[in-house]
């Protein structure tokens, strides 16, 4: 069996090798992230079979689990690691042709650091280690938002950095209080002894941790940074932030609420928080004229739906939430990747400037439409399967309130359909307002280049395939959901 440590060590090591390698030759540097992510994908897929039998615990430095730092590669962590590797690989292929400006070797190094941080955060079993990897993820994403060095990017990065640092401060204080209470940093050990502490003392770190990780997860009202950061970053970075970075925040919140605390009193709060996030974000998205801001607000809305599904706290609800998380990662990165070249060709981020793109960039526009339909939840795309699971889970609660809340959440989906269909309508059925010199530009040279079309087609195939055969994922999703729900199994799995 391959050691799961390699999933973190290889991207982290390659990130520094890139900088060394760049002093020799800057041309080949961009292929290194692709290699790293292919490696991570293969290793994660190889490990799935072992992880389904029980969490793989790797001790570092030879200290057995309650002491020292350990990695817990359970089905949940591995599901995230596969997701990170797939989206990371696709976006790194896209970046081959897309990232041209500036010191590209720094882009690729930071990109690998971001992915290493994300993978580390989902695989670790030590809460302080979680914080460190989370910070690696955050710092590299601050820098990547500002990568182009334009006015908007810098301003967005400053906002993101300030809010993210305040959130990290909350996380650190929460961890410090927990260490003071239990004298351990191991999450399984802490979870085992959580009942022995005074509930009042436990409540404060819980709130601090949810607030801190909530900033990265962009739950309302901690999401002010997200529309700016996602709209101003290069499109490949928007895709990875939307597909991976905010999901790691959701993972951390879920890990704290379910595994660490088993805080059943928080579940209703999560449901309401998710619903409020969903509705506010969808309504804000509806009023946007900038396409990337619209997609960013839509990401917040989807996070709301995922948190809502987690709050149901049933096997079906959590596996539905995880499925929604997967489907959103694929669909939203597809949308950002396609929009990246549309903006490039149109020269503007305004939705009205994209009129007539359906003729100029047919393949890209079809891919955008598929992504939009999947996000709205139309069959046969992956979004339909995931939303159906969540609706079923909410109805299975046999509670009139959950039915009402689910109806409200579906209203959000209707709003979502309205603004996505509006964009599709602009793409295909509206004539360009300005008289573009279409004959000169030509229809052929307008399509996105091959390095963009390959990852876009890959995502389209994934969305279609998983939409038609959602059962491929069911085994892994159910195992991941029971890892969150059955904390006793997690504790004995780690501590033995």
């Amino acid at each position: 069996m391959v050691s799961p440590v390699l999933l973190i060590v290889v991207p982290l090591g390659l990130a520094f090798i890139i900088l060394l390698f760049a002093s020799v030759s800057t041309r080949g540097v961009k292929y290194i992230p692709v290699v790293g992510m292919v490696f991570n994908l293969v290793v994660s897929l190889l490990l799935i079979r072992h992880a389904l039998d029980g969490p793989i615990v790797v001790t570092i430095g030879g200290f057995p689990p309650p002491f020292g730092i350990n990695l817990v590669t359970g089905s949940l962590g591995l599901m995230f690691s596969v997701l990170i590797a797939v989206v990371g690989l696709i976006v790194s292929i896209y970046a081959l042709g897309y990232v041209r400006e500036g010191a590209t070797e720094r882009y690729h190094a930071l990109y690998l650091l971001l992915l290493a941080g994300a993978t580390g955060a989902v695989l670790t079993g030590d809460i302080f280690n979680l914080f460190v990897f989370y910070e690696i993820l955050c710092i590299s994403s601050y820098a990547l938002v500002a990568y182009l060095g334009e006015r908007d990017g810098i301003e967005a990065a400053v906002k993101y950095l300030i809010q993210g640092s305040v959130g990290s401060g909350f996380v650190l204080i929460g961890i410090a209080i927990l260490y003071g209470l239990f004298g351990t940093l191991n999450m399984a050990d802490m979870a085992q002894h959580i009942d022995s502490a005074n509930p009042l003392y436990l409540f404060v770190p819980l709130v601090f941790l949810i607030t801190g990780f909530g900033v990265e997860a962009a739950v309302f009202p901690l999401n002010a940074w997200l529309p700016d950061a996602h709209a101003s970053a290069p499109s490949s970075i928007s895709a990875i932030l939307s597909g991976i970075a905010i999901k790691v925040g959701v993972y951390a919140v879920a890990r704290v609420v379910f595994t660490l605390y088993d805080a059943s009193g928080m579940f209703v709060f999560l449901v309401l928080l998710g619903l409020v996030t969903l509705l506010i974000a969808e309504i804000s998205a509806f009023s946007q004229n900038n396409i990337k801001r619209m997609l960013a607000y839509s990401s917040i809305g989807q996070i709301g739906l995922i948190v809502f599904a987690f709050g149901l706290a049933s096997q079906a609800g959590i596996s539905g939430g995880l499925f929604q998380l997967t489907s959103h990662a694929f669909a939203k990165s597809l949308l950002f990747l396609t929009v990246g070249y549309m903006i490039y060709r149109a020269g503007s981020m305004e939705i009205s400037a994209l009129a007539g793109m359906g003729e100029r960039m047919p393949l890209t526009c079809v891919a955008f439409t598929i992504g939009a339909f999947s996000l709205v939840g139309m069959p046969p795309f992956i979004g339909f399967a995931s939303k159906l699971l969540i609706v079923n889970a909410a109805l299975a609660q046999q509670n009139v309130w959950f039915t009402v809340l689910m109806a409200l959440a579906l209203t959000g989906t209707v709003v979502e359909a309205a603004y996505f269909f509006r964009v599709v309508q602009v793409l295909y059925f509206e004539k360009p307002a300005m008289l573009l010199d279409v004959d000169n530009i030509g229809n052929k040279g307008c399509e996105a280049p091959l390095t963009a079309l390959v990852p876009i087609c890959g995502l389209v195939i994934l969305i279609l395939f998983l939409g038609i055969y959602p059962n491929v994922l069911t085994g892994l999703l159910n195992a991941a959901a029971s890892e969150l729900l059955e904390r006793a199994v997690y504790i004995t799995g780690v501590l033995g």
Binding site: F128, V132, E135, I139, Y142, A143, A146, G149, R151, D152, I154, E155, A156, A157, V158, K159, L161, I162, S165, S168, L172, I175, A176, Y179, G183, L185, A224, D228, A231, S232
Partner: protein, 48 residues
């Protein structure tokens, strides 16, 4: 006997803090170049 773990934690978070500060300062320099001020109330290029 002193518990070594809190010291390791504080040291790690100081190192992280230095990294964040370095990035924040470099962003602040660029922000000043664009806006001529560091007053965040006047930095309003992006709509809220």
């Amino acid at each position: 006997m002193v518990d070594p773990v809190p010291q390791a934690l504080v040291l790690t978070s100081i190192v992280i803090g230095v990294a964040v500060l370095a990035l924040a300062l470099s962003l602040a320099i660029r922000l000043y170049e664009y806006y001529g001020t560091l007053n965040l109330r006047k930095v309003r290029g992006l709509k809220w």
